[in-house]
């Protein structure tokens, strides 16, 4: 299977503190991966590091996406290669509607103008499937959205922008039943054998409705264990303490 993402020996500092300490893993097309770990293990650092957030300094290692070295690429360059990230708490931007934002992003990503009516049909379809309020796409991006509405807007963007790899930050949504439904539904609609999903979470709840290929346990800045979906059950029963020795 085609390898999409490969991370080798990644070291990342945030404000001169080492957060990721030699991290390795790979994601192939057609797969759904989960990274689990307790708070403070480095989950959000990993996502931000993949996406070239300048606050996360890479001191060693390499990230390759679809045969392109993106270790030092900028977020927009990474997005153009086909990587998407759903934010747990996306910022609000006044003055641009969800619809217009998706239109702008899509035209930047594809480097071509977007037909208004085609996009409208596409968005209307997803809005229905995700059980979103119709007017949401006309409202300013995330402005005054509830947590659930933000989640739906992120998933809507993922579906419209149709990346090769979608990274979903679900660090906080472990207990929110509606959020879980939206994410699993979105992933189900999105997933095919050409693309991949990487879900980052600390709770197993989100995974109940998803078919997961690989689970990675992130502890103290390293992947300490990789296994199949059964690892989720193990975490459910034993927590992360059982992996301490593997570090």
């Amino acid at each position: 299977m085609k390898q999409l993402l490969s991370i080798k020996n990644l070291f990342v500092n945030v404000e001169d503190k080492e957060i990721l300490k030699g991290l390795n893993f790979e994601v192939n097309a057609g797969e759904t991966h989960v990274i689990m770990g307790p708070n403070g293990a480095g989950k959000s650092s990993l996502m931000n590091a993949i996406f070239g957030n300048p606050k996360y300094q890479k001191t060693n290692g390499q990230i390759v996406f679809n045969d392109v070295d993106i270790t030092n690429a900028k977020p927009d360059e990474i997005a153009k290669l086909g990587v998407f990230m759903s934010f747990q708490n996306p910022v609000s931007v006044e003055g641009i509607s969800v619809f217009n934002f998706i239109k702008t992003a899509k035209s930047k990503l594809t480097n071509s103008p977007i037909n208004y009516f085609d996009l409208k049909d596409e968005i209307d379809k997803y809005v229905l499937q995700l059980d979103m309020r119709e007017e949401l796409s006309k409202r300013d991006l995330n402005v005054g959205f509830s947590g659930g509405e933000k989640k739906k807007a992120e998933i809507l963007q993922m579906l419209c922008l149709n990346p090769k790899l979608a990274i979903l930050d679900e660090t906080d949504s472990g207990l929110d039943v509606d959020a879980i439904k939206v994410v699993s539904k979105g992933v189900e609609m999105f997933k095919n054998d050409q693309n991949a999903v990487l879900i980052i979470t600390h709770s197993s709840r989100i995974l109940e409705h998803l078919k997961v290929d690989k689970v990675h346990i992130l502890l103290n800045g390293k992947i300490v264990k990789t296994g199949d979906a059964s690892l989720v059950d193990f975490v459910e029963k034993n927590g992360y303490a059982g992996f301490e020795g593997e570090n």
């Binding site: 300048p54 997005a79 998407f84 931007v93 990503l109």
Partner: protein, 479 residues
């Protein structure tokens, strides 16, 4: 690539290289070709010469001379931007273009006509304006109003013509809203004023389409001192749009215009300005309105250009139940100091004022919101709400708010909110993860920040405003 010390605010020049079209749209100049350019400086002889060339009545000359006297007596403002670089000995206060005022573009000389064509004026006139005035340097070169407006008794002409054709009307209102001695630069204005528009909308006449006057200063080392006098009579309504621009020169140019608005009982008026003076311009403009019973006046203001601006439109809410709104945006780039804001005087009962002000600063620019809210004891049940936001695009730029509130009445409602902050790096990052470049991301954020203001402009002008924002953002490349 070393990213360690790089943050989003410190965009490198390479980041912005993709922007091909960095030519400032407004920066094109014609030869300094005039019929008459008065010698530089300021003196009684110069003022008399301007008046004589205009063949003015004596009462107007006396106003000019009195204003000149006041100008010499008054000091420069002791607050705000430093104006010491202004040397009136290097400014020519009157430049007459090689044409009289025409009512058909065909009759306007080619180079001047081309200037206004490039600025989109004839097209806008054709599509959505009820009338257009165009001033080039010190004189109006074109004035025209649609036939049906004339039939309804609307007067829209240049001020020189108004002095001759409607002397009583002009005399009744001229300098009655903005007095000669209010500050040094208004005295200067009255001494050498030339050009500007005169509008009279008769009782009960409501104009569906706006009137627009455009002021273009082409001549280097000169000043523009247009006087706009507008009377919206009882129960009438008008939207007046003002545009200004100039090509850039190495030496200082001066703009000290004056706008006087009389909004009578039950009348409504909106006064919109989009200003993009070149960055060698000192823009020391004065605008004031007197608002009658149950009348409404809205200011919409976009300040983009100039080296220094000092501009604080004022509403005098004289009538009971009168209201005013000020919606303004300023964008200060490298080397610019834009000191703008709003003044309101509540006199009548149940008067209302609303302020929404936004300022953006970038590349070391300084944007200040300065305001005075004055609520007199007579203004029972007055309401005033002020909301101002400053957005700094980097750490070398400045944004400030300096409000003064004088409230002498107990029975009122007043709120003031001010926020000043740097552009959110988190927001830039979020937008970039969706494929927008850093520059695109900033443009989306800045346009969004400005959207409450751009929504107040007619669509065509909102588009122009967004273009001005993009131009300002692009100019980082040339700084």
């Amino acid at each position: 690539m070393d990213r360690k010390n790089k943050d989003f605010s410190g965009a490198s020049k390479n980041d912005l290289d993709f922007l091909q079209d960095n030519q400032n749209f407004y920066d094109f100049k014609n030869a300094d070709d005039y019929e008459y350019k008065i010698k530089k400086g300021l003196s009684k002889e110069i003022v008399e010469e301007i008046s004589k060339r205009k063949n003015e009545p004596d009462w107007l000359l006396q106003i000019r001379l009195k204003a000149l006297e006041t100008y010499f007596k008054l000091d420069l403002p002791q607050w705000g931007p430093d104006l010491s670089e202004l040397d009136m000995d290097n400014i020519s206060t009157y430049v007459k273009p090689k044409t009289e005022s025409k009512s058909s573009w065909e009759d306007v000389p080619e180079d001047i006509k081309n200037t206004f064509t490039k600025l989109g004026i004839p097209k806008a006139e054709h599509q959505y304006l009820a009338g257009v005035g165009a001033q080039y340097d010190s004189e109006v070169v074109y004035h025209s109003i649609k036939e049906d407006m004339l039939k309804r008794g609307v007067i829209y002409t240049d001020i020189d013509t108004a002095v001759k054709e409607y002397p009583e009307l002009v005399k009744e209102y001229f300098s009655k809203c903005v007095p000669l001695s209010e500050h040094k630069f208004i005295s200067l204005h009255y001494a050498v004023f030339s050009g500007g528009s005169f509008v009279y909308v008769p009782k009960g006449v409501k104009l569906e389409m706006p009137l627009q006057s455009y002021f273009r200063l082409n001549s280097p080392e000169s000043g523009q001192f247009e006087h706009t006098l507008i009377i919206v009579d009882e129960g009438a309504s008008l939207h007046f749009i003002e545009g200004c621009s100039a090509p850039k020169y190495s030496k200082v140019n001066l703009h000290a215009g004056c706008v006087e608005l009389f909004v009578k009982d039950n009348a409504e008026m909106k006064f919109s300005t989009i200003e993009n003076w070149s960055k060698n311009m000192l823009n020391l403009n004065t605008k004031k309105a007197i608002v009658g019973n149950n009348a409404k006046l809205d200011w919409v203001s976009g300040s983009f250009g100039s080296k220094i601006s000092m501009l604080y439109p004022m509403s005098i809410l004289q009538g009971d139940n009168s209201s005013t709104e000020y919606v303004g945006i300023s964008f200060a780039g490298s080397g610019q100091n834009l000191d703008t804001g709003f003044k309101v005087l509540h006199i009548g009962k149940n008067t209302t004022s609303n302020v929404v002000s936004k300022s953006i600063s970038k590349s070391g620019g300084v944007a200040t919101y300065r305001s005075i809210v004055n609520i007199l004891p007579s203004a029972i049940n007055a309401k005033c709400s002020v909301n101002c936001d400053g957005l700094m695009l980097d750490s070398i730029s400045k944004s400030d708010t300096i409000p003064v509130n004088k409230i002498a009445c107990n029975d009122i409602t007043f709120s003031h909110e001010a926020k000043v902050g740097k552009i959110s790096e988190e927001a830039i990052y979020y937008l970039m993860t969706r494929g927008l470049t850093e520059q695109d991301a900033k443009a989306v954020i800045v346009r969004g920040f400005a959207s409450p203001i751009s929504k107040s402009f007619p669509l065509e002008y909102a588009v122009e405003m967004n273009r001005l924002i993009d131009l300002e953002l692009e100019e980082a490349k040339n700084d």
